[in-house]
């Protein structure tokens, strides 16, 4: 695939000091926009993507030729209505869809960065993305929206820029990664680094990919995005194109075949080192610690109107963790609404056709947009 042809990038000249201590400058930030920025430039919504997402939120992704990852929620007349709003989404730095990441060439060594790429954080991602606002001449976003790691970016964005978003919708996320979250990410990273093709991150030099390890990482992660009930209802113990067990280690069960498929399509579109970097950024995310144990202080000066959303069957970022954000906001009398959406689809609910969720987002945005400032 030739990524570059179909990708818009903003070259960020301004130096960006990363949390790890290094400073980067003159780096590309790949982005996409949907809809039209109005004359007052007050209808822009920044969408932040999750771990394996990208800037191709809706419509056909020109790289994968498949629907964008949030096609259910974003588009004409949808929850985030591109007839009304100007949607911006950037590929996170550390990613592999055109933004500055480990698969880029290190100008000093003329070699692919690999694990020489600096470790980045959610804070770094957000600080890179805010450049897009300047680029488009947007003083204040109408909203900043995202689920999962996208939600973490939403929280970080409002914390860093308390006056740059009228509204914010953090969805199915957390203010810091739990031990269980870190554990699952570590499992994925270990799968990648254990693949003998990983070559300490230098697989590009040998023209190979640690596809087996990356696929296992994806399979393990995918399980965490679904609920037990959802899996049971969809797959149960159904067999895959066979009438009986084969007494071997082929994919006898549909769930096995499904996971293998998820793994194999993933390696075609995602870079293994990016997976390491982005999961690390999520693990390091701790807005509570950053504000000395008091999450409220992260939002102390904000006038942003929040709408926090969680899902009943999400055990990766459960309702309680989302509620802690609500509690922290209430403690400083911030404007915050909250709803837990009933769904059997697990953490992935925010990406799927969950009408109650889609309706809530639409209603919140459309009502807030016409509200007097």
């Amino acid at each position: 695939m030739n990524i570059k042809e179909n990708i818009k990038t903003l070259m960020i000249e301004k130096p960006l000091k990363l949390d790890c201590g290094q400073t980067i400058s003159n780096f590309p930030l790949a982005y996409e926009t949907f809809g039209t920025l109005n004359e007052n430039k007050d209808n822009a919504i920044l969408v932040c993507h999750a771990l394996t997402g990208d800037q191709f939120v809706t419509g056909i992704n020109p790289i994968t030729k498949k629907d964008g990852w949030w096609t259910y929620a974003v588009g004409p007349n949808k929850s985030i209505d591109t007839n009304k709003y100007f949607v911006i989404c950037a590929n996170v730095i550390g990613g592999c869809m055109g933004s500055f990441g480990p698969s880029h060439e290190n100008p000093k060594t003329k070699k692919i960065y690999g694990t020489d790429f600096p470790v980045i954080t959610i804070n770094d991602m957000v600080n890179a993305q805010v450049n897009l606002l300047d680029f488009f001449g947007i003083d204040k976003l109408f909203s900043v929206v995202g689920g999962s790691m996208g939600g973490m970016q939403v929280l970080q964005f409002v914390s860093n820029f308390p006056n740059k978003a009228r509204t914010a919708i953090p969805i199915a996320c957390t203010s810091n990664h739990s031990a269980q979250n870190i554990a699952f990410n570590e499992l994925g990273r270990q799968a990648i680094t254990a693949d003998h093709n990983w070559l300490d991150g230098n697989y590009n030099l040998k023209n190979t990919v640690p596809d087996k390890g990356l696929a296992v990482a994806r399979m393990a992660a995918h399980i965490t995005y679904l609920s037990k009930k959802g899996l049971q209802e969809k797959f149960g113990r159904k067999l895959q194109e066979r009438d009986d067990l084969k007494f071997g280690f082929d994919a006898d069960f549909q769930i096995e075949s499904y996971l293998r498929h998820q793994g194999s399509v993933f390696v075609d579109r995602f870079d293994a080192n990016s997976y390491l970097y982005i999961t690390r950024a999520m693990d390091y995310f701790d807005l509570v610690k950053k504000f000395n144990g008091n999450l409220s202080n992260a939002f102390k000066n904000t006038k942003t109107k929040f709408f926090v959303i969680s899902f009943t069957s999400d055990w990766l970022y459960p309702t309680q963790e989302n509620k802690e954000i609500v509690i922290a906001l209430n403690a400083i009398k911030a404007n915050v609404g909250f709803v837990e959406i009933e769904s059997d689809k697990g953490h992935d609910s925010f990406l799927l056709d969950v009408p109650d969720f889609l309706k809530a987002v639409k209603n919140f945005l459309d009502k807030s947009f016409v509200e007097k400032l």
Partner: protein
């Protein structure tokens, strides 16, 4: 019940901060938002009703007033409203204390179980009363702690809060309750409306 909303609105000073506990479909919030203050929040236990509120552009948190009020710091709001739900709580005493911690003042309305129709129902029929404001059967009612206007006045002495205003609503007519007319208001009032403070 628009009369109830109007009475509540009349008690509230303009542009104060308000929390509506058990805000239902947000109709009182909407009324207050238009007439009194845009600084208004709600808390509601039903997901469906939270959705209705969001569709009205109201800021509402899904939650259980019995447990989730503790997230608000002391004196977060000028007024906290509890409309006709005190009787549904497991521990009304705790709820009132929480209301008065979170709010500087609280407005509580109660369907009056001392109303003559209710009394008559039990006296004549010998079955649990069912009225317009109390439409449930005994076995499916959410109302587990019914009280009368008189009970509530007594309650203020027992747990120690001050009643600053007490009103009785009867056929859309509003009247003040005082010590000398308590017997009659408790017999004829359909709804008691109280402004209380710590």
């Amino acid at each position: 019940m628009k009369t109830e909303y109007k009475i509540i609105a009349d008690i509230i000073e303009k542009n104060s901060s308000i929390l509506d506990v058990g805000c239902d479909d947000g109709s009182l919030m909407e009324f207050l938002k238009t007439n009194k203050s845009t600084n208004i929040r709600g808390i509601e236990i039903s997901k469906e009703k939270v959705q209705t509120c969001i569709a009205k552009g109201l800021t509402v948190i899904e939650g259980n007033a019995e447990f989730d009020l503790k997230q608000f710091p002391n004196d977060s709001f000028d007024y906290v409203i509890l409309g006709q739900t005190l009787q549904a709580f497991i521990n009304p005493e705790l709820v009132i204390k929480e209301l008065l911690r979170v709010g500087k003042k609280a407005i509580i309305t109660i369907p009056n179980f001392g109303h003559w129709k209710v009394r008559l129902d039990l006296l004549i029929k010998g079955t649990m009363p069912i009225t317009n404001s109390l439409p449930h059967n005994w076995y499916n009612t959410p109302n587990i702690h019914m009280c009368t206007i008189k009970d509530f006045v007594k309650f203020s002495e027992i747990i120690g809060f001050k009643i600053f205003k007490s009103l009785a609503l009867k056929n859309k007519n509003i009247s003040n309750i005082n010590n000398s007319n308590l017997f009659f208001k408790n017999l004829f009032g359909e709804l008691g409306i109280f402004l209380i403070e710590k």
